[in-house]
């Protein structure tokens, strides 16, 4: 890495007071973000009766129970649901990366007449609430025969397509900012060497965008994974359930069963975090590969 010298030089400096302050601030914020997750995990092992009245103590001794998880695993095929969720969210993330990459590149690098309008439309696209657009989408899915078929692949596709559109706007906005910051010189150099515009995009721009792709990929994945609303319209029968739909059906609208809710959230979040930690290696790799030198 080009920065090695620089970093070594830094390391020689004494661990300054300023550094200690920085770490103090960072750790303080980290505590606020770790604690809620810990709190949820902790309460998922407690009896639902004590969660509201005694939510800040550790689930030790008499407080400890696995009941909430038993209920979650009772009668349901949670592995099948994880599979459905993964298929949906990975497809959405992949499609969003590709489509938003193409569009953002053109929106940044080219000048054309309707560019301003398109940019505004992208921003507008972020503002459409899902419940304002869902009904026409359901109609379309019915017409093309993707909804209400009781066939898993079709139902999953019926969720994937609108979710791609729903995440595109955000992805384009983020990528636009990122690509605008890339030096155009690299592309010019490649152009001089005889690359055509498509080679330029796939061989030069895409690799440079890897870090940002990772970011939008993660967010698209997450939002798709957590998007109960769209999913609950298309995933109706048990074999079609995603994790989010399945667990939402365990906890009621009345919302009194906080224990079940805590275990549901744990079952939704922790596999995701494990996947994230695992993938982070690749994300960091992407970062190094994509770093612009100079």
């Amino acid at each position: 890495m080009a920065g090695t010298n620089y970093q070594e030089k830094q390391r020689n400096h004494k661990f300054s007071l300023g550094m200690a302050g920085i770490y103090a601030v960072l750790i303080a914020w980290a505590l606020t973000t770790i604690y809620p997750l810990f709190w949820i995990l902790m309460n998922s092992f407690k009896d639902k009766k004590v969660i509201r009245s005694d939510s800040f103590s550790l689930p030790l001794g008499e407080l400890f129970t696995l009941d909430n998880y038993r209920t979650a695993f009772d009668r349901v095929n949670i592995l099948g649901a994880y599979r459905n969720s993964l298929v949906i969210s990975l497809s959405v993330a992949a499609a969003v990366i590709l489509l938003s990459g193409l569009a953002s590149y053109a929106l940044v690098r080219y000048d054309f007449r309707v560019k301003g309008l398109l940019n505004s439309m992208v921003v507008a696209g972020m503002m459409f609430p899902a419940f304002a657009t869902i009904i026409p989408v359901i109609r379309m899915m019915n017409v093309v025969g993707l909804a209400n078929t009781n066939q898993i692949p079709k139902s999953l596709l019926a969720v994937i397509l609108p979710q791609i559109a729903g995440n595109l706007s955000f992805a384009i906005v983020v990528l636009r900012g990122y690509i605008a910051g890339l030096p155009v010189e690299l592309e010019e150099a490649a152009y001089m060497e005889g690359c055509n515009i498509f080679q330029l995009f796939f061989k030069v721009v895409m690799p440079l965008c890897k870090p940002s792709f990772a970011t939008i990929g993660i967010f698209s994945f997450l939002w798709s994974y957590n998007d109960l609303f769209t999913q609950s319209f298309f995933l109706k029968t048990k074999p079609e359930y995603s994790v989010t739909v399945l667990l939402s059906l365990l906890t009621s609208q009345e919302g009194t069963n906080y224990g079940l809710m805590a275990s549901s959230v744990s079952l939704i979040v922790f596999p995701l975090l494990i996947v994230y930690l695992f993938l982070q290696k690749y994300i960091v790799k992407g970062l190094t590969a994509g770093a612009v030198k100079g």
Binding site: M1, Y6, Y23, L99, Y110, D111, F128, I135, F219, L287
Partner: protein, 295 residues
């Protein structure tokens, strides 16, 4: 763009069509329907219209007369201010700090992300217990320090603050990730050169990091403003129906309320049109403000 490569405009179509085709089919067309719906009489989400409003723009007249809309707009403005100063501000500081440390970068990048992955229902419950009147975490703490009277964090005087703190906190990680991605893209050589020239740490941030982050910050500004306009889940769980006394409405929660609670889908559609218009306008303002700023 100055470059010659992009003089030939033909490939633009190839780049734009896939994404915009998706947007057109699954967002713009349905939203056009939504605009039409705002002129119709629709009671339930999913049921067909019972006819046209009389006059057809009645919902838009109502928007001007509705006191709750005014409350929602004022509160949303506060929320926008809170997101820009709070979310974005904190995120920038944290990102710059993390970028400047050597040990534990990965750790912080991971844990700052946590609040976004937790469903709003769970966070809502947590914060409800933290702010509970009789007696949540805060009131218990106050008691330990000798306070005698319980504070009602959800009353008129405290409600907005009680709502904004969790929302702000929740999304700091989101902007943090986007910003740190941008920071990582700044070459170490630049910093190195600056260090050799004798630049202090602060000068490096001021003259290298921030200017090069300019575009990304602008992006975050747009996201923050639009996010504040549509945020609804956490506020709705903590303060359903604009409680107390219709004082905590946001444009997002008010729209949700009319779509699902009051069975006034057409009015909800009109509110969503208002939100989109406001979103586009404020995004333009943000762009203008950030673009002109010269570091």
């Amino acid at each position: 763009m100055s470059s010659n490569i992009y003089k030939n405009k033909k490939p633009v179509i190839f780049f734009l069509v896939p994404a915009f085709a998706f947007l057109a089919v699954f967002l713009y067309y349905p939203f056009l329907q939504n605009i039409l719906n705002s002129f119709r009489v629709i009671n339930n989400l999913g049921s067909s219209a019972k006819g046209w409003n009389d006059p057809w723009f009645a919902n838009y007249v109502e928007l001007f007369k509705d006191a709750n809309i005014r409350t929602a707009l004022v509160n949303t403005l506060k929320m926008i201010a809170a997101t820009i100063v709070g979310q974005l501000g904190i995120a920038i500081v944290l990102a710059l700090m993390v970028d400047n440390i050597k040990k534990g970068q990965k750790f912080f990048r991971t844990v700052y992300f946590f609040p976004i992955v937790i469903a709003a229902t769970a966070l809502g419950l947590l914060f409800n217990i933290v702010f509970l009147y009789d007696k949540g975490m805060l009131n218990q703490l106050r008691e330990m320090f000798g306070a005698v009277k319980l504070v009602d964090f959800k009353d008129n005087a405290h409600a907005m603050l009680t709502m904004m703190i969790p929302v702000t906190w929740q999304y700091v990680g989101f902007y943090f990730i986007i910003l740190i991605t941008g920071l990582n893209n700044i070459s170490d050589d630049l910093y190195e050169a600056a260090t050799i020239d004798g630049a202090s740490k602060w000068q490096r941030v001021r003259y290298i990091s921030l200017p090069l982050l300019h575009n990304v910050i602008c992006t975050c500004g747009v996201l923050a403003v639009t996010g504040a306009l549509k945020v609804f889940d956490l506020p709705w769980i903590m303060f359903p129906k604009g409680m107390p006394s219709n004082s905590t409405w946001l444009t997002g929660t008010y729209m949700y309320y009319h779509a699902f609670e009051s069975h006034n889908v057409d009015y909800s559609s009109a509110i969503s049109v208002l939100i989109v218009v406001l979103g586009v306008v404020t995004a333009k303002i943000v762009n203008a403000v950030f673009k002109e700023k010269d570091y």
